[in-house]
Every structure is written in structure tokens, then in C-alpha cells.
């Protein structure tokens, strides 16, 4: 046995390249798989740690009358509630660099949604505040923020001071994303938050109550959601009682003082809203974004494992093949089957195991780190992600790695070992030459130069070698194409949506249903700004076909032509606006309920009233879901509708009136928002930006895929060419003896590899196209349909990158060719 062990160690030393190929491919496969799989758990744990540390809320209660400052006690009587925190807040306009921007000013919470101090200190005196670290730079410390005169009287009177000295910068768990929410002030978006001491607010009540339960399930888990849903009723009831108590107190007060309290009069009945974490923009979008990575992590690693298995199988087959005679000798000397195969088991097993272990730890450490780095542009609440070690995953990876390496080694040996030693010792029948199909085309074949003929015949003759190289290369090209394609699709979505489908500058939602005269008046009021408008009415419905159902927005045009605002088309053909009794669906809904043109679907309203309509068309739309019907069909549904309008502003070129070019659209927006009938204005450019930032993390994932595909391509090619050369040592040595110069020699060997590489790359394009559309269907988050188009540049780039990788490998292999020793390779038969 000692001799066998020595022979094994020597084997590893003498074939470092092969040993390392197995090691690296396993490390890469396992690392990539485990790394991507750990991302989501790691990110969720990071978020959980942060949210736990800051004591993030479970429920947020609001009522039309607020809550008395003593309501906390009533909540705390309940055994299941751990903490309650009341907060006051107010949106204010404040002057920053001469412009009025909107801030939301909160009272500093004590035990829920705790702030994290980034610089400076917490406010200690009345006139001090801490500010949003994402908006303010550190040099703001010591500055004074003063609320603008333009604020409403009611806003001004809500505060004891209108000027605050900044003493610190903070982050709040309520705002982990860049989204700071909307408001009815200013341009409608809140720029930053401020925290002041509770005493700075004049109100004697809280606007919001935050509640934390004692029971803590893992965040984003089903268990957490169920627990929250289960106890929501109980929380609502306590909140309801508190709000009613407050009304009673208000009434008593007003009777006592003999003045009519506005609040008490307005609200004889208390209404309480209970929000959960899902209504927090940052918390919810973090979950969405981390899901995208999870979906990707399912698809790609499977691929990597396939290729890893392929590399192991070919390598081990080749190795056992080479050592056929040796195996015979060991056997002839009386070593047992197990003893002989243990050499190959050990060889491949150690490469696989060490590869798996090193790959696992590197991958699970590095990949979440890299992706977190991309995340930090959107969610900046932790320096680095939590490291997660998942025993189960480790065991699975190691088991698969062992199976791919030692398993294939065993399998490959089995055939040789079951032969009698004598027959193994005899050289194997040399492989018979055969003609390839192309030689039947006499005319063509005769035109090809001799050496090219040889390459062609070599390329097509050996089915196994042909298949391996073509498969390996096509895998790399497919991965690259998928990587590039994801970028195209993601970029395509916003470009296509906002460049070619939704053409309007802004969507206005009105506070009530607008009659014809009101619409006219609205247009007259804004005649200076609005160039073109189409009025719509909208409501929410369920679209149902058979058992499948989707909630979506139903839209009908009331006044104007949709054409210039929303381009209805599908497969590059225009789609006609539906007639009465007809409907057109966006692709997302059509796919979701499986509807085709000509189907009859049912629209279900909020009171379960139903209307049947025929699908007259399907139109492309990527962000958000819409259905369009005629005004009369909309009326048939008898649903309460709200009015909206798509708007084109005047452009600079239309009019020379825009004074402040930097905030052209924003100033128009402010003016629109001042209109009493307007509830909300969504600028397309703003919306586009929002969607794009949420895709930003995907970009790095793509980069990661491309880099990994590159490494993969390198390993696969290196290994295959290495094996190819190994199999043809005698042939190459013969060429050298015949006096082929080294350049001619490599041309002879590599011409065939080149041909197979090109074939592989072309196959990879087809393969990649399918992989890409599969991946896109997997990663699609909720209401966004990805455009499955891949840009021409990406096809070219993935083929070019593959060829470059192949070229690099060839460069490295040139040395190997040079080192082939003629005299030694030609000495014996095998």
C-alpha cells in the first residue's frame, strides 16, 4: 500500500494542471452556488439585526383624531405587547440654499424605531435637532435650519420654535431606502427627515403610535406575517378604544370650556388605521430587491454544477484511460480492485473536497460582500452583511462535489478494473479512422487544402471530443449572453417603457371624479403649462379567466386621444383601442390569466358585480399593469371611478417662458399641486429614476455572472485542450519529427479547436437565448414584465468574449506544445 500511496502523491505532483482544473472548477461551482444562495439569507439577517437593534415597529396606528399621550399604558396592559411609542410629526417647508424644500419633522422616539447616530449628538435642548444623514453632509453640524414663512399657519403653530440648530446626523429604520415619501406640500416629495424633542411640538396628542410585540419571528418570514395578521384585530381594538377615549375627552373639554372644538365636532366616530411593516417603503422594497437575487441564484449555479461535472468526468475518464496499463500492472501484482481505485478516488476526492471547502467559504463570504456593496447605494444601514454559515448547504455542496469527483473517478475505473489484467495490459485497439460526411461532397472536399482537410476530419470524427468542446464553449457563450441579456432587458424595460410606450410627461390623479366643465376649467387654469391632455377614468378590478384571477387597474379614455400619450402596440403592430364590450390587456395580465385575443374574460368590481368583455387585443407594457376599455363598458361595471389625466408639458422649444431650467418640470409640478382638484402628480422622469435605482443591484449581479462565465470558459477550455493534447501526444511528436515548425504544429492542433470553438459559440447563442428568457421569467419581480429582447451588441460581445478566452487559453497552451518531447513520446506504444 505504501507504494500505491507514493504513486498517488507523485501523480498529483506530475499532473498539477489537471489536479488544479478539478480543484478550481469545483471551487468555482460551489463558491458561486453557495455564495449566491447565501445572499438573501445573509441580507435578511443583516436587516433583521439592524431592525432588532433599532427596535423596529410591528404596527403603526393612525386615527383621525390622534391618540392621547397616555394611551401607551392601555396597550402595555396587554401581555403580548412589548413596547409602545407615540410620535408627533409635521411636514414643513424649510429654506435650503434659497429654495424651499419639504422636510418631515418627527419627535425623537425613545424605544421604538430608534435612531442611529452617525455624527454629533442627540438633541438635548428644545432648539436642537438631528437630521437625515443621507441628505445632509457632516458639515451641517452647527447650522441652523429655519422653517419657511411660506408654511401654513397651522404648520407654524404646531411648533414651539421655528429655528433649530443641527447637533447631529442620524439614520432611521423607518427610511432604509432612499424613498422619503410624498406629501401635499411643495413639489410633493419629502427630501429629508428631521428629529426634534417631543416638547417642541405644541400638540397634546400623538399622530402615530408604534407598537412592538413581544413575540419576534424572523423578518420577512411567513410566520412573521401570520403572527402579525393574527394579532392585528386585537391591536385595532385597543387603538379604537383609545381613539374613542380621546374623542370623549375632547368633547368633555369643549363642554367644560364651552367652546366648540373643531376636532371633536368633525369626528364623532373614531376611525383607526393599523399599518404593518409591509407599508413601510424601505422595508418592503428591500424584500423585493433581495428576492431578485434569490431567483437568479437558483438558475445559474445549476449550470455551473453541470459544467463542473462535465469537467470532472472528462478529466477522470482521460486519466484512467492514460493509466490503463498501470491499472493492469497493479492488478496483475495482486492489488485489490478497491486498493487500485482508491488511488483515483483519493486523487479526485481530495481535489474535489478541498475545492468544495475553499470555494464554499470564499463564496459565502465574498459574494454577499460584493453584492452588499451594490446594495449600499440603495440601502445604507450596515457596513457589511452578516456572515451566514449554513451547515445543510455546506453538506449538500460537499456531497455534490464528492459525487462529481470521486463518483466519476469510481465510475471511470470500474470499466477498466472489471477487465482481466492481461487484457488491460495489451494496448487498446487503436482508434479506427473514418471519413466524415463532408468527404461525400467531392467537389467541395477537393478544393480544401490538405491540412484543412485533416482538421475538418479531426473535428468531426471524434464525437466525444466534438461534443465536449462544443458543449463547454456553448455553455460559456450562453452564460455570457444571458448576463449581457439581463442588462439589456433591464435597461430595455425603462427605455422602452418611457421612450416608446408611455409618452406622457406626467400623470395627474384628481381628488374627485371630474365632470366636463371641471375638466375644462382645469385646462384653462393651466393653459400656460399644459400643451396636451387626455382625461381618463380609473378603478381597480379583478380580471378573471376561468380560475385565474389578477387584480389590476382598469382605465377608460373619457376625453381626448390616447395615441400621443400611450402607444398601444404589440409585436411592432399597433393595437386598436377597444370598442364597447371589448377590452385590451397588457402583456403582464394576459400572461397572468392566460388570456388570448378572442377570449371572453370577466371583470369583477369591488362589490363582486361582474361584466363580461371580449379581448380584442394585447399590448406591450412593462411597468405596471393596465386594462383599457371604452367609457361605456367602464360605466357598465358600476364601479366608483376616479379621474386622472396624462399630460404633456410645454417644452423649452415650445415656449421661452421657463425661467428656471434646472427645475423646469419641478416648478410645473409645484404649480399643479397647488390646484385644489389635483391629488397627486407622478412625473414620468421621476418614476423612471425610481425603477432604475431598484435595478441597480442587478447590474452587479450581471457583472458577477460575466466574470464567472469568463473564469468558467477558461477552465473548461484549458481542461479540454489539455486533454486533447494529452490524447494526441504521439501525433504531435510525429509532426515535430517530420519537421513541422512550432507555429505549424499549433496551427495543426488548434485549427480544429478553433473550428469547434466557433461552432460552440454559435450554438451558445441559441442556447443562451433560451436560458435568458428562462432566467428573465424567473427574476421578474411582481408587476414588472421584462423585455426579453437582447441587443445585437450583446450577441457580438458574448461571441467575441468567448473567442478571446479561447485565444488566451491557446496562448497558454502553446507552451505545453513546445514542451512535448519527441524522443520520449515516441519511445513506446502507449
Amino acid at each position: 500500500m505504501r507504494e500505491l500511496a507514493k504513486s498517488t502523491i507523485r501523480e498529483i505532483k506530475s499532473s498539477k494542471g489537471r489536479y488544479l482544473a478539478i480543484f478550481f472548477i469545483i471551487a468555482l461551482g460551489v463558491g458561486f452556488f453557495a455564495g449566491l444562495c447565501t445572499c438573501r439569507p445573509s441580507f435578511v439577517k443583516t436587516a433583521e439585526k439592524y431592525f432588532d437593534q433599532q427596535n423596529f415597529y410591528d404596527y403603526c396606528l393612525r386615527s383621525n383624531v390622534g391618540f392621547g399621550k397616555d394611551s401607551a399604558e392601555a396597550f402595555l396592559e396587554n401581555k403580548e405587547i412589548a413596547a409602545v411609542q407615540g410620535v408627533c410629526y409635521e411636514d414643513v417647508l424649510a429654506a435650503v440654499d434659497g429654495n424651499d424644500v419639504v422636510f418631515r419633522v418627527y419627535s425623537v422616539p425613545e424605544n421604538i424605531n430608534e435612531l442611529r447616530l452617525v455624527s454629533g449628538r442627540m438633541p438635548a435642548a428644545d432648539g436642537e435637532c438631528v437630521v437625515d444623514e443621507a441628505y445632509f453632509k457632516e458639515d451641517v453640524l452647527g447650522d441652523t435650519i429655519s422653517f419657511s414663512d411660506a408654511n401654513r399657519e397651522s404648520t407654524k403653530s404646531a411648533f414651539r420654535h421655528l429655528e433649530y440648530t443641527v447637533v447631529g446626523t442620524v439614520s432611521s429604520p423607518l427610511y432604509i431606502s432612499s424613498d422619503r415619501g410624498t406629501t401635499s406640500l411643495g413639489d410633493g416629495t419629502i427630501k429629508a427627515f428631521l428629529f426634534v424633542k417631543e416638547e417642541c411640538f405644541t400638540a397634546d396628542y400623538y399622530k402615530e403610535l408604534y407598537v412592538v410585540l413581544k413575540e419576534r419571528e424572523e423578518i420577512y418570514s411567513e410566520a412573521y406575517r401570520e403572527n402579525i395578521l393574527e394579532k392585528k384585530q386585537m391591536i385595532t381594538e385597543i387603538g379604537q378604544k383609545q381613539a374613542e377615549t380621546r374623542i370623549k375627552n375632547l368633547l368633555m373639554q369643549s363642554q367644560k370650556n364651552n367652546v366648540s372644538s373643531l376636532a371633536a365636532e368633525q369626528s364623532n366616530t373614531a376611525s383607526v388605521y393599523v399599518l404593518t411593516r409591509d407599508e413601510n417603503a424601505g422595508y418592503a422594497s428591500f424584500e423585493q430587491d433581495s428576492k431578485i437575487i434569490e431567483n437568479i441564484s437558483v438558475v445559474f449555479p445549476v449550470f455551473f454544477f453541470l459544467v463542473a461535472a462535465l469537467v470532472c468526468v472528462t478529466t477522470m475518464t482521460r486519466m484512467v484511460d492514460e493509466q490503463r496499463t498501470q491499472i493492469g500492472v497493479w492488478k496483475a501484482m495482486g492489488y485489490s480492485k478497491l486498493a487500485v481505485s482508491s488511488k483515483y478516488l483519493f486523487y479526485s476526492g481530495t481535489a474535489g473536497l478541498t475545492g468544495s471547502i475553499i470555494g464554499f467559504f470564499t463564496g459565502t463570504f465574498l459574494i454577499p460582500m460584493i453584492l452588499w456593496y451594490a446594495y449600499r447605494s440603495a440601502y445604507d444601514f450596515a457596513e457589511r452583511p452578516e456572515y451566514i454559515f449554513d451547515w445543510k448547504m455546506f453538506l449538500i455542496c460537499t456531497a455534490i462535489a464528492a459525487f462529481c469527483t470521486a463518483g466519476t473517478a469510481l465510475f471511470c475505473c470500474q470499466k477498466e478494473l472489471s477487465e482481466m489484467p492481461a487484457s488491460i495490459l495489451r494496448p487498446r485497439m487503436p482508434q479506427n479512422g473514418k471519413r466524415v460526411f463532408m468527404e461525400k461532397l467531392k467537389g467541395l472536399w477537393q478544393r480544401i487544402g490538405f491540412l484543412h482537410k485533416v482538421s475538418l476530419r479531426n473535428a468531426f470524427r471524434y464525437k466525444k471530443r466534438f461534443f465536449l468542446i462544443v458543449f463547454g464553449i456553448s455553455g460559456c457563450t450562453a452564460l455570457l449572453l444571458t448576463g449581457f441579456g439581463i442588462r439589456d432587458s433591464v435597461q430595455g424595460v425603462t427605455d422602452y417603457q418611457y421612450g416608446e410606450i408611455t409618452l406622457y410627461d406626467a400623470e395627474v390623479t384628481f381628488v374627485k371624479s371630474m365632470e366636463k366643465e371641471e375638466r375644462q376649467e382645469f385646462l384653462e387654469r393651466h393653459a400656460d403649462n399644459i400643451r396636451e391632455t387626455v382625461f381618463l377614468s380609473e378603478c381597480s378590478v379583478d380580471a378573471k379567466l376561468g380560475k385565474r384571477k389578477k387584480s389590476t387597474k382598469l382605465v377608460s379614455v373619457v376625453d381626448g386621444e390616447l395615441e400621443n400619450f400611450f402607444h398601444l402596440r404589440h409585436n411592432n403592430e399597433d393595437v386598436a383601442y377597444p370598442k364597447d364590450g371589448e377590452i385590451i390587456l397588457c402583456t403582464g395580465i394576459a400572461d397572468g390569466i392566460g388570456a388570448k385575443v378572442g377570449d371572453t374574460i370577466v371583470l369583477v368590481g369591488s362589490l363582486f358585480q361582474e361584466v363580461s368583455v371580449t379581448v380584442s387585443g394585447i399590448f406591450d407594457n412593462y411597468i405596471g399593469n393596465y386594462l383599457f376599455v371604452s367609457e361605456r363598458t367602464m360605466a357598465q361595471l358600476e364601479e366608483e371611478v376616479s379621474s386622472a389625466a396624462y399630460i404633456h408639458f410645454y417644452k423649452d422649444s415650445d415656449f421661452e417662458r421657463i425661467k428656471n431650467k434646472d427645475s423646469g418640470e419641478e416648478s410645473l409640478l409645484t404649480e399643479l399641486l397647488k390646484d385644489e382638484t389635483v391629488g397627486h402628480v407622478a412625473l414620468s422622469t421621476e418614476y423612471k429614476k425610481k425603477v432604475e435605482t431598484s435595478f441597480a443591484s442587478l447590474d452587479l449581479v450581471v457583472l458577477l455572472i460575466i466574470v464567472c462565465a469568463g473564469i468558467l470558459a477558461f477552465i473548461v477550455l484549458f481542461n479540454l485542450i489539455n486533454i486533447n493534447i494529452g490524447e494526441r501526444l504521439r501525433e504531435i511528436a510525429t509532426l515535430k519529427v517530420l519537421g513541422f515548425f512550432s507555429s505549424e504544429c499549433s496551427a495543426y492542433v488548434f485549427r480544429e479547436v478553433d473550428l469547434l470553438t466557433v461552432i460552440g459559440a454559435l450554438c451558445g447563442l441559441v442556447f443562451g437565448k433560451f436560458l435568458h428568457s428562462f432566467v428573465m421569467s424567473q427574476v421578474s419581480p411582481g408587476n414588472i414584465c421584462f423585455d426579453e429582447r437582447i441587443a445585437w451588441g450583446s450577441y457580438i460581445a458574448s461571441v467575441a468574449a468567448t473567442l478571446v478566452f479561447a485565444w488566451l487559453v491557446k496562448l497558454a497552451m502553446q507552451r505545453r506544445l513546445k514542451e512535448i518531447n519527441m524522443t520520449e513520446s515516441l519511445k513506446s506504444v502507449e
Binding site: 479512422g433 490538405f450 485533416v454 479531426n458 509532426l735 519537421g739 513541422f740 515548425f741 519527441m822 515516441l826
Partner: protein, 244 residues
Amino acid sequence: MIDKYTGGMTMPEFIAFEHVGKTYKVGEVEIQALKDASFSVEKGEICVIVGASGAGKTTILNILGGMDTMSAGKVWLDGQEISGYDEKQLTAYRRYEIGFVFQFYNLVPNLTALENVELAVQICKDHLEPAQMIQEVGLGERAGNFPAQLSGGEQQRVAIARALAKKPKLLLCDEPTGALDYNTGKAILKLLQDTCRKSGMTIVIVTHNSALCDMADRVIRVKSGTVQSVTTNQKPVPVEQIEW
């Protein structure tokens, strides 16, 4: 000074080995495969190198054929010094001047007999017609067969055709009959002898069968890396008449 082996001022030797040494380094150990080996061969001769296994016959042939380098001494072929060649020159030397025949034929398995010959002449400027060469070694009917479809003797004929088609100055054969039976071996040797007599090509044959000495013009005996004796045969016997 006139060396006794390159001696004759009137006629320079075709092949000249001068004090050639070859040392292999295997780890720490140095193996002396050749020590101070000197001999010469004249143009158009059949030269047989005999010696026991491990004596250094193959080493001599490899050095002579430009497949290996020497550690000491000089080698001349037709007035050119090979010992000073760099790798590229050696390749060109093998390409234009030398034909090889090996014990194990070393045909390219996925080329037909004819194509194996074509492969060699692809890179030569002046060469013989491959089809004709195949004909000459008696394989006209089998030109389209792949090596695996040919017997050992037939494969060796293809190998000889491949070597001869290049029109080499020197044909080197290392145990050309080593893997063949008696009669087939004889036929191969006859082919070689006939070729030499007909075309005047110089041939060096390595063997450990001393019976073959009778067919040679010149016999070089090698023992443990040194040349023991160089004898010339005034009356070489045709191969058919030799028995062993």
C-alpha cells in the same frame, strides 16, 4: 590536425561523429548515455548500428536526426555542422534532410496511408509523388486504408514511404523490424536495402540483431555508450540470403 575518422582529405565523410557525449540528468543522478563516441559514414552506404539494450544506439540516432541535443562533441552531415544548430534550424534540418522510420511506425491514426505520406510532403519543397511512393512500397491497393486497418508490416511500409517521399539525404531507422515477425521483417529490410542500392540514399539502421551486420556496408558496434568498433563490409549480402 587531421582526425582519423574524418580523415581522408580526398573525400569528406558524409556523416561524422566527433567525440560526442550525452548526459541525461534524472534528479541528482547523471546518466552517461554516450561517451566520446566517434565514427563516420560515407554517402550511399547502408550503416548498421548494433549493440545491447541500453548501449546508446537510439541516442546516437536521435542526435544524428536532430531530435535531441548532445552534451559534448560535434556532428557533421554532408559538410554542415549540426551540433551548432538552434531549435529552429534543427526543425528545418529534420524537415528537409532527414527521414525517420520507428519501431512503432508512428503513423497518424486518423489519416489514411496515402494521407500519412501527404502529411509529410506538405511541408517539403522538393518531394516525390505520395501516390507513387505508396505504389512503390507495394501498397497501391491499400492507399485509402487507415493505419488500424493495416498489418504491422504494412504500416511500416507506409512509414518508409512517408520517410522516402521527402527525398531525405539520410534515412534513419530505429529497430524497424522490432515489432514484426521474421518474414515481414525481412521484407522490410529488403525494401530498405533495395531503396539504398537504387537511389544511392544513405541509410542508418539501428538494431540489436547482429545477424543484420552482413547486409551493411558499414557496421558500428556500440557498448555502454562508447563506439567499440567500426568495420566496413566489402561484400554486403542481400537480405534474402541472411538467416537468423
